[in-house]
Structure formats: structure tokens, C-alpha cells
Symmetry: C2
Subunit: 372 residues, 2 copies
């Protein structure tokens, strides 16, 4: 007999296999139509299984957020892996091993220090190997990367050119994380246009130095809702779209029904005198990202629009009614509720395994890689 | 050659072994002086090694927050384990197995539904076994438990009495989580007095029914700074004191130098035009508990009082100066910084292993149990 959702211990992290499949296929189709290469990011799920769906089985061309992910995927037959994280000296030995092991391993350079550290360690590369570089470009997000209109990026380009045996420029990489800060679709479109315009200007500047660069962008909001201008891009590298979440739904990146992950929880007690039902989902199972920005409504309780997860401690959540009184008899102890998280990257990171289901049947368990 | 802190990959979770030892010994001594049994809670660290220090090697008499912890400790030679979490039907089979396996396994009953579910499953207990009960009492925190002045607790007592072969009342259990809500030591003392006064009144009411109950309380702020009245208690069950954290320091539970855990991080980039240094510690390594309440200062950067962790994304933190400009040359790429977390229970939960150090030497790796 197959395991049913109701057989599972709570709290647990549920992943709807059909929805993940649909989300992955849809992004592949979006890229196909735009004629852009998809380099899916694995940071949201960190599993072999979802990365296989993201790459339609090829196990080629992914972006990862940690060295632990890079090594995990490399050990499991993946190749053409970009460590989409600023390279620093403390990571160089593990990156060297990956460069030697894989056909294609790419490091991301976010500043001249990063380049210098690659130059210093280039002597340890085997003869046929070189550092394959993605240059991290800051077109306005302001987190990491070469300023798109600064001088350092030109210095970097010249230095790469002067050492073309050991350093090869693969692409300019932009994470438009500021797409998470805009409120409307017209603002988002404007942001995308600005980003591309700036990349094109940088491309022209680099051409004057003899570089013909391609460039790619990430972020699920921009890739889920691409604009025509995106056709000039070489790569998309979104990650969150695999699961989506309430935040993406609020951005308009997806419908509520596209969200592929939930936390399953049970009612464990009532506090009728306080109009509260207590569930076995605290911040240990759901996480807290988004709670500061949306203290009242940072998650959804599926199918229960009048319920609100008001507060959490480590292992306990308190649910109240948004309006009117809560009759606890409608939510008996033992009843299962499903919470749609605000940020799936945060929620998934708290779970050592994901319960994969097809409708009501639990069909698999996926184990993500953790650590750094 | 021994591994040094500076050899470690970042971000990572550091635990100062001497400080943990001191914190554990100090709590043992506090309880000895008050003549109170210490039942340390393991939820903050979830490791075998720290639980051994908490129990001074006896491996007896602990409280845990999840069934996964209970099973982990039971498999590793611990006994006299309290699952300090409301018992519900979905957990009953695993609790039954623990009751059979251990000399002493205690379940916590937070309402009449919990009691009913134990009664229903009592038939599966072997002859010599019984359900050992801690009754969860709400003396004002308002999360879970029988109201101290309500009628349900009396019903529960009578029902336990009527089935004394299968149900044995071990203790009244109070988690005074509201001690986390008070701002001053006089308020905290008043809260402790109120809690004890209410427990004494409940004890009297129960005595009228023929019950002579002992009772215990938890929460690190109240146990770290006990009052004379606490001598009437049977047990203390604090947990956080093993590591302490910035929150406890703000409460006055400990000095900054007692805090035994930190996240080690490295500078990975600069944004001089924004007066920012970028580190490899995002919310994936530090967590977000406390950020809503203290958006600006929810953690400390050890020894760098003018630095502030302003903002985090998944794997990246942005550090700014509280006053004046930040000269990035003082914090070169690669430099190590230590972040003292707001809530160690939250931060530790994000790490699959802890790096244990004695001064600058890494002396062990502890692996916590995860899941539910």
C-alpha cells in the first residue's frame, strides 16, 4: 500500500511532483521561444531530482550557490556547473579540484581581488585546463559585482585578455535581485529594460577593447515574465521557479496554483479563550523570511482564507481568524493544514528531506545537500 | 597538525567548548544550591556531546522538543527523557515504542484531547509499563497547556487517578516563555513570583482532590537568574543556556563573554561607493529570528562595535558602519569576522555540523539531529 499524505509525520515539507514538472517544463519552453540558453539555478531545492527536471535529464548547464552544491552535483554526474558566488582565496582549492574533475566548471568573479586570486593559483591548473569565468556585473542591484559603468570591469577584461591561456571569459553575469523590490509589472518591465540597456552599453565598451561578450541574467520574476528585449541575452539562470512561493505569487510571477511546495502541519491544541488554534509548525519548519516585511500575512493557509498564522515559536504556530471568532470545533486536534510559505528557498533549507507527492500519494523522498 | 579556526570554510557555526562547559557547570551548580533537579532541554543544540555536558555524563533526565530528538537520545544511551511537546494521536506509536524501550520516558499532556489519546492507546502498553505524564500548565504564557485556574486540569487529574495503572502523573510542567517578553529584572522577578504563586494555588486545588504534585519550570532567563521562591520547584528545564546568545545577553541572563556560539564569516567583497563590506553569511547561516523585533541590531559583530549587519540575502550579508564612513581597506577580502547570533536555537538549526573549538584549535565536530 502506498503512503498517503495523511500518514506523514508533521511538520514536513511537501513537494507536488506534477507542479514541479510543469514549472520546469514551462521555463524550458520560455527559453526555447526566446532562443536563450537556460542555466537553471539549484539553490532553491538543492536536490539531484529537481535538477534533473530543470535540465530535462541532460544534467548539464546549471548554476549553484555553494561549493557544497557544486561538489554534490559533480559527484552525481552533472557537468557545466557555474558556482554563482564570488570567488575568494579560501575557496580556490576546492574550485581547482572541480575544474580538474569536470569538463566545464565556471567560477564567478565579482571584483579585481577575485581575479587576482585566480591568477595567483593558475599555476596549479593542469596544462589543458583554464579558469572559465563569469564576470559578476552590478547593473544596479548593489550587492556584489563590477559596476557596469565603472573602470574595474575594463581592467578585468584587459587582464583576462593578457592571460588568455589560463583565464577565459565565458559570460557577463547579472543577478537582478532588485526585481524583488519592485511593486508593479510596469516597474518590473522598466527595470528589465534598464538592465539590458546597461548591459548593452557595457558590451559596447568592452567591444572597444576587443571583447565580444555574451551576457545572462537571473531572478525568477524577470525570467518568469520575460520581455521581448530579453532575446539579446545568452542565458537565463532563474532558480526559485522550481517551487515558486507566496512571494513570487505576490510579484505576479505565478498563479497560486503553480506553487509546488507546502509545509504540512497538524492542529495540536486549542486556546478557545484566546481564539487561537495551535499547530505543530514553528519557525523551525517554516522559516521567518518575509515576516519582517509582512508581519501579518507572510504566508497562506491553503484553502482557509480567513485563517492567519499570527505567530510562531520554535516548534509551535498560532493560528487566528482574520475576521470574526474562530470556532475551534471546526479545526479539531489532529486536523491537517497546509501552509504555503513566503519564501520557498528559506523554508526548504530547514528540511533534511522533502516528501514528494502525486496527488494524495507520497511517491518519493528527496534529500537536499546542505552546508557550504 | 591541528586544524585552526582560520582553516575552516565559511560560513560555519562555531562552539567554544570551554564556554559550553562553564555554562553547563554553572547551571548544575545553580540547581544544586537551590536543591532543584535539573532536567536540561536539548532543543538548542540537539547533540549527544552537549547533552552529556548538560547531564554531567549521567545521560539521564533531559527534556527534548521533537520525537526525532527523543529517538536520537534513546538510541545513544540516554534515559529519563521528557518529550516536552503536546502529545497527539499522530505521535502515539513512536511514543509507545520509546516507553517500551526506555526505563523512563515521559509524555506531555496539554489538554484533555491528549489525555484521551493516551487512554485510548494504553491497551498497547506492556503489563509493567505505563504512560508517565507531565501536565503542561499555562500560568499566563498563553501558548499551550491546561489553564492553571481552569476546570480541565481538575478533570484531567481525576481521570489520571481513575486509571492509575496506566497513567501516572509525574509532574506539572510550566514553560514560562513569557519571561522572554519582559524588559527589566524587576518585571522578570515579578513574573517568576506570579508563576510560582499560581502553581502553588493549583497545587492546593489538586491537593483537595488527593493529588500531591511537584512542579517544574523552564526558560533560560528564569533559570539563569533564579529567585529564592524557586526552591519550592522540583525541576528546572532550561535549554538555551548551553550556548546563550545576544537575546539572552540583552535580557541580562548572561554576560557577552558567556555566549558560546558564533557564526564565522569572511569578507568576500567591498562596495566602497555604498560604504558596505560584503560577507559570506546570509540568512541561510545566521537565521532571521529577532530581525523583526530589532531590524537594525539583531546581532553583534564580535569586537567590532561600530559595525552592523544591515541586511542579508540567502548567502550574503552586508555590513555597514553605525557611524562615520567605512574604510574597506581595514576589512580586506578574506578577513574573518565573528557574528554573535540573536537566537542560538535558530542559528544552530541551520547547520548540519558545529565546529567545536578550544581557543584557536578546532577540536571536534558535533552533528545535531534534525527533523521531527
Amino acid at each position: 500500500m502506498s503512503t498517503k499524505l495523511s500518514d506523514l509525520h508533521t511538520p514536513c515539507f511537501l513537494v507536488d511532483l506534477q507542479k514541479v514538472q510543469q514549472n520546469c517544463d514551462h521555463m524550458i519552453e520560455t527559453c526555447r521561444k526566446l532562443n536563450i540558453k537556460l542555466r537553471p539555478h539549484t539553490k532553491t531545492h538543492k536536490t539531484i531530482e529537481a535538477a534533473i527536471l530543470q535540465t530535462k535529464g541532460s544534467k548539464r548547464c546549471i548554476a549553484v550557490s555553494t561549493l557544497a552544491e557544486a561538489e554534490f552535483y559533480a559527484e552525481n554526474g552533472f557537468d557545466d556547473i557555474l558556482l554563482a558566488y564570488p570567488i575568494t582565496a579560501d575557496k580556490i582549492n576546492r574550485c581547482l579540484a572541480l575544474t580538474i574533475k569536470l569538463q566545464k566548471f565556471h567560477v564567478m568573479v565579482s571584483g579585481l581581488e577575485g581575479l587576482e586570486c585566480l591568477e595567483t593559483h593558475a599555476q596549479f591548473l593542469p596544462k589543458e585546463k583554464f579558469w572559465s569565468l563569469f564576470l559578476d556585473i552590478d547593473v544596479g542591484y548593489g550587492r556584489t559585482g563590477f559596476l557596469w559603468d565603472g573602470g574595474d570591469i575594463l581592467d578585468a577584461a584587459v587582464r583576462v585578455n593578457n592571460n588568455s591561456l589560463q583565464l577565459r571569459l565565458e559570460q557577463l553575469y547579472v543577478h537582478c535581485g532588485n526585481s524583488y523590490g519592485v511593486k508593479t509589472s510596469s516597474e518590473r518591465i522598466k527595470l528589465q529594460e534598464t538592465n539590458i540597456h546597461r548591459l548593452q552599453q557595457l558590451q559596447k565598451r568592452l567591444m572597444n577593447y576587443g571583447f565580444n561578450c555574451t551576457y545572462g541574467v537571473g531572478s525568477t520574476p524577470t525570467c518568469s515574465l520575460p520581455i521581448e528585449d530579453n532575446k539579446v541575452l545568452a542565458e537565463f539562470h532563474p532558480g526559485n521557479y522550481v517551487f515558486y512561493d507566496y512571494m513570487q505569487h505576490l510579484f505576479g510571477s505565478c498563479r497560486e496554483s503553480n506553487i509546488a511546495c507546502r509545509v504540512m502541519t497538524r492542529v495540536i491544541a486549542h486556546k478557545p479563550e484566546k481564539n487561537i488554534i495551535v499547530v505543530d509548525c514553528g519557525w523551525m519548519a517554516l522559516g521567518l523570511d518575509g515576516k519582517m516585511e509582512r508581519p501579518l500575512d507572510f504566508c497562506l493557509i491553503q484553502g482557509e482564507n480567513n485563517l492567519r498564522l499570527l505567530d510562531m515559536t520554535q516548534e509551535i504556530g498560532k493560528i487566528v481568524a482574520k475576521e470574526g471568532e474562530l470556532d475551534c470545533r471546526l479545526y479539531p486536534v489532529g486536523m491537517i493544514l497546509y501552509i504555503i510559505p513566503f519564501h520557498s528557498c528559506c523554508t526548504s533549507s530547514l528540511h533534511a528531506e522533502y516528501q514528494i507527492h502525486n496527488g494524495d500519494d507520497v511517491v518519493a523522498t528527496w534529500k537536499p545537500v546542505r552546508g557550504w
